[in-house]
Symmetry: D2
């Protein structure tokens, strides 16, 4: 018997996240972008907030690509205490400026209870990161938020544990949870993580919640991002979270996993096309693409 | 230092499988179907050869779907010595009959040195299964074959080990090797294996060999097969190996991972569409879809 | 390049946890029991605090076995929001009663910032659980505690990530951190987790911190607990955290991974013997057993 | 449902390897050394056969340590076709010379059908390597051998698959199979493989076959070999397969995982002591140490 296989509770463990008794799929509106609908919802943006010049430069081409959601971290959870932990509230102010200037919705991470309210004020969609997927007090706090929550899968979490983490948020009264697959840790070593693409249709079989893919963290290699992004959409993902280059002007010299502006534009267009084409097959097969 | 990460040799370990010095991508013709070209190459068929009625029934709808390659196992490697090991040479005779009756190319597995020559005579494409990916004498034997080889990835094999297994075949003089991703073993437990979709573009970055995906073994769940098949093609796979139902007449009662005839037809059409659409993006980005 | 292999920072990432410049090994005194010294430090106790009768019954035989540290959870992090979350402060009160009655030191888990101070008041050793290994605010809080900290390894965490988690605590000023290996999640399925025994000497090669093993969570099977406990000590563990049966009177009918009283006693005696015998080999080889 | 968890057949899948109906444990005599008895059976020797000087130098200190079984590979399965594949029959001749000169029993690997008979003639114990654990024709051939077989666990194989591989050998009529745990492939990256120590008692719970540990391949780091070897014995292993240094005279400059002569001697003595001490606990608990 493997720990990974155990269902936490007998009966349906997913009272609110589960498909049973929840007819239809949830559609969640973030700044006018619908997650769970017939179109691919795209979020783009740099690794983290670094400066006004940086976020404005990226925000400009995100907006020009016709996407409406901008992501960047002001608070960064870091493996080492000696690494840069983000600009904090100064970063949030820059994100507010991005919204005003470009009319982009803001997606940014809440890393702890202390800063949750500040993040929540700025964000249109509050991210709970992979490391915090089982930070239960933080999940409960997210359950009291007025904002929708983007819940990343833990790098070692099963689908069941992930949906039960969503259940923590839902059971506190916030019905707006979007799942995000970002790769899991395995021995397969050609990429930073293993993009577990089959969890997308598997999640849809169990849950009505929208689910998107983050091919940037799932692979850690720029040359794998577009293929995996399209794979995610082809497997039924409702959208994408894509890391775009922080400093397009110096793009050739750094940014191991971030897309260049022209790559981002091509990706967005092609992902939308694949998503649209899937609507017909979806109707024929009773699958949820 | 992790075993998985070690390159076997210094210098380029992939003398023949590698992209270096091998301009362009290999295109391999199997019974008139091109692997590595602009169209998706599809192989369909049941788990194993069971009877004339069974293989003819499946072959008929494979052919009617417009696909030209039929796969079924006459020799079956089994985890337990007490499990059915396949019809053997009787099975090969039935596959010969399928070719004559339906003009389908035959894809079937060679499990050992003893039966290799018989399998080779019947097959248009000889499969080396996942368990034999590091059976080096068998790989060398495949290297002396006049037939192309379908080399499945071992369930615990890294990309490097897989390409070095291909190198065993290539270095004996057979240049026609097609790779096949069929899922790897991880702790992620919503499906039988983890479909490692990012290995498809990663293999193309290192090697000129065609690569296809087997979403049936990669997932073991019928409801995940089509989403993962499309994901594989969207990630750049040159084709698909899909398990179709052995007894379409009793389809509802068994066949945990096999597609029904109508599902197979929809899959084939949609996979071809995605593959075609990728040609434009491929040209724009310099990626190999 | 695999994510798991990256060192977070260049230079020595383990400024305080690392062996460099920290001559000798740390010895940490918890209620008179030394972790990191020549004797095996043993902690026993039930899954969670359930009632006075239960904790007193277990505490009695823990004390009679000659061990001096009692562990039980008052706050229980649970995968599902609908599972029992522990007795909370009522449980802490029962643990205080155990200390008074049996003179046992108390080991219990702090699951969030809110209850940390209460837990800290009762505990002689505050446990940070596997799910919270990268809950960085909680680690920083532990770094301000006057009590020593037992830091469990995350089920998907590398040795480096684990030591960097310890570094969060150390860098806030609390030098007393004890590591605890409790099994990691892999595909190997004969036990609930995979007891990664080689991490014990590997941790000692990098760090001066004491390290113990938790064979109960590492296996989830009572029949594997004693063999793995002894394996941990033979590999150099400084001690053990062992789950003992909550209701010895009904032991045959439940408790998948908990030891019976007589098994616990035999384990304690044998672990001590192995530990003592290792001192001679240690001196001969320059290894840290 | 996870592939790893499926039992191949309903009923008892381990007809001959299983404990059911096989009262007591198997004891297998190899050159006078008993595997499965109360003493630890030790096999030592270098990576591969390189020269007469090399094997004689190592054999001398193996014999002087009081151990009676010598292992070295004449045929080496290699990941790359371009790597050195062993001395072959010339290497077997050198192993014959070692037996004559030092009265050591020989343990060496059979990698294919072709060389099996030659290997069998020289070996007192024929090794089937990890890559060949599911090479079923080779297993059947081993089942017709008059010599006992050392069956290494595949690096991605579950306990069930391993025991079913043993079943292939047993069902052909050879009752003398010794299992060998040599580490499995996981994401945990402080060592080359993950030494899955709990599989030792888990195998003993299902099967009467002797089981030994190979801490050298399980870790790939010399400083982890002794701790893991002792851990294996403490967990109940019936013996050890240990890689010792090929050229003791140049020992400081190479040999990432091989023990030096004095380390080997200390290991042997301490492993025997732990094994002996376990006999008492074994009697008290009904466990098979």
């Amino acid at each position: 018997m493997n720990d990974a296989g155990r269902v936490a509770d007998s009966g349906n463990p997913f009272r609110l996240a589960g498909s049973d008794g929840n007819p239809g799929r949830s559609i969640i509106d973030v700044h006018g972008v619908l997650f769970g609908g017939p179109e691919a919802a795209i979020i783009g943006g740099p690794c983290g907030v670094e400066s006004k010049d940086q976020v404005f430069a990226v925000a400009r081409y995100i907006a020009e690509a016709g996407t409406r959601l901008f992501r960047a971290g002001a608070f960064k959870p870091r493996t080492s205490p000696y690494s840069f932990q983000g600009l904090g509230s100064e970063g949030l102010a820059l994100l507010d400026a991005v919204r005003r200037e470009f009319d982009l919705g803001i997606v940014t991470e809440a890393t702890d209870m202390e800063s949750f309210s500040d993040v929540e004020r700025t964000a249109d969609l509050v991210q709970i990161g992979a490391r915090n997927m089982q930070n239960f007090p933080l999940l409960r706090r997210a359950g009291h938020s007025e904002k929708p929550i983007l819940l990343k899968r833990g790098q070692g979490a099963t689908l069941e544990e992930w949906l039960l983490a969503a259940e923590y948020i839902l059971s506190e009264g916030n019905p707006r949870v979007i799942l995000c697959e970002r790769g899991v840790r395995t021995w397969s070593n050609h990429a930073r993580n293993t993009f577990d693409v089959s969890v997308i249709p598997a999640a849809k079989a169990l849950s009505h919640l929208p689910i998107i893919a983050d091919p940037s963290h799932a692979t850690g290699r720029r040359d794998l991002v577009i293929p995996c992004a399209l794979a995610g959409v082809a497997a039924g993902a409702d959208g994408l979270l894509v890391e775009t280059h922080c400093q397009p002007s110096s793009a050739l010299s750094d940014g191991a996993q971030a897309l260049l502006p022209n790559e981002f534009l091509i990706l967005v267009n092609h992902a939308r096309k694949i998503k649209n084409d899937l609507q017909s097959i979806s109707a024929n097969l009773g699958l949820c693409f």
